[in-house]
């Protein structure tokens, strides 16, 4: 089980997680990033910057 570092709700992680993966906490809506895989560590994802995009 993985906990949202912000609201402590349970966060579901895909079967094939990768470092740097972006996910959203379904409870509080915050964007999270998988910081490490072993063990899985979650942190708040960085805010979008002006030059982000396609």
């Amino acid at each position: 089980m993985h906990e949202c570092p912000v609201c402590e709700a349970e966060v579901t992680i895909s079967a094939d997680p990768v470092e740097g993966e972006l996910l959203e906490c379904e409870e509080c809506g915050i964007e999270l990033e998988i910081l490490a895989l072993d063990p899985i560590t979650l942190g708040e994802a960085p805010d979008a910057e002006e030059d982000w995009g396609e």
Binding site: V18, G20, E33, D51
Partner: protein
């Protein structure tokens, strides 16, 4: 073949590419997180090719230049990223290659920009030269609005917001087109439909399949070639007089376009990588 996967945050698009790379027996992924890289101008990364999927334009562009500097092939190439990432360079490249686009004006002061808007007529669209996802775009319907936006940009923005890129507003009846180009093929296209004049899917535009007609494929490939070619998403408007190319994106987002087009876009991208290694 070792594929360097240049990234920062990994979104669904990147996950789909990673899954596709992992499916291939002859490909191995080397993750290159742009937040951890240090370049020394000499060391070659242990890869045959870099696939650029970074969410930051400045990081992507500089990293591509540095990788190419030590002889590593990149998809997309540095020059392509540079041209696509800056709407002024995009407009100039499209014009160099005779690809039709909306009327544009570029100006460097609020006063000259206002004159440019007045010359194009209303409504006009002001865009940051560097930026994406439809952010900080303004449609100005009259002189008062133009003056206000230009003053705000000049006073509140950083220096690059005083490089003014102005486009004629194209009446597009609620939708525009995004065409996906992979190498020398236009593999798929979608309509992006919205009640808002900004139709990006990142801003709530709905994606639906758009048939790739010979005309659409033709102009999309010409636009991609004008930028230097590679894996590119070409945004277009349909007008009575034919298609106009609005812009070209070099780190294309395709996650909302696979189901609606029925085309496995990440599979097409990964297959292209073999052809991109010299």
């Amino acid at each position: 073949m070792r594929v360097g996967f240049l990234h920062s945050l990994i979104r669904r698009d990147e996950k789909l590419l990673i899954a596709e790379l992992r499916r291939r027996r002859d490909m191995e992924i080397v993750f290159l997180d742009d937040r951890r890289l240090v370049f020394d101008l000499e060391t070659r990364p242990p890869v045959d090719l870099v696939l650029e999927r970074s969410i930051n334009h400045s990081r992507a562009m500089h990293a591509l230049r540095l990788f190419e500097g030590v002889g590593t092939a990149c998809v997309n190439a540095y020059e392509v990223a540079r041209r696509c990432g800056d709407k002024i360079l995009t407009a100039a490249s499209l014009r160099d290659h005779g690809v039709p686009q909306p009327e544009v004006r570029i100006a460097f002061t609020p006063e000259s920009a206002l004159a440019a808007v007045e010359e194009l007529g209303y409504p006009a669209v002001l865009k940051p030269a560097v930026g994406s996802w439809g952010r900080l775009l303004s449609r100005v319907n009259d002189r008062d609005a133009a003056e206000t936006v230009l003053e705000h940009k000049a006073i509140l923005g950083s220096y690059h917001h005083s490089i003014f890129f102005v486009q004629q507003y194209v009446e597009k009846r609620g939708r525009d087109i995004r065409a996906f180009v992979v190498g020398d093929e236009c593999v798929a296209a979608i309509y992006r439909t919205s009640d808002h004049w900004i139709t990006n899917t990142a801003r709530g535009g709905r994606a639906s399949n758009c048939p790739v007609t010979p005309d659409l494929a033709g102009i999309s490939l010409r636009a991609a070639q004008a930028m230097g070619g590679g894996v590119l998403a070409v945004d277009l408007f349909e007008t009575g007089g034919g298609f106009l190319v609005n812009e070209v994106n070099y780190t294309m987002e395709f996650r909302n376009s696979i189901d609606v087009t029925g085309v496995n876009i990440p599979e097409r991208i990964v297959s292209y990588l073999r052809r991109a290694v010299p």
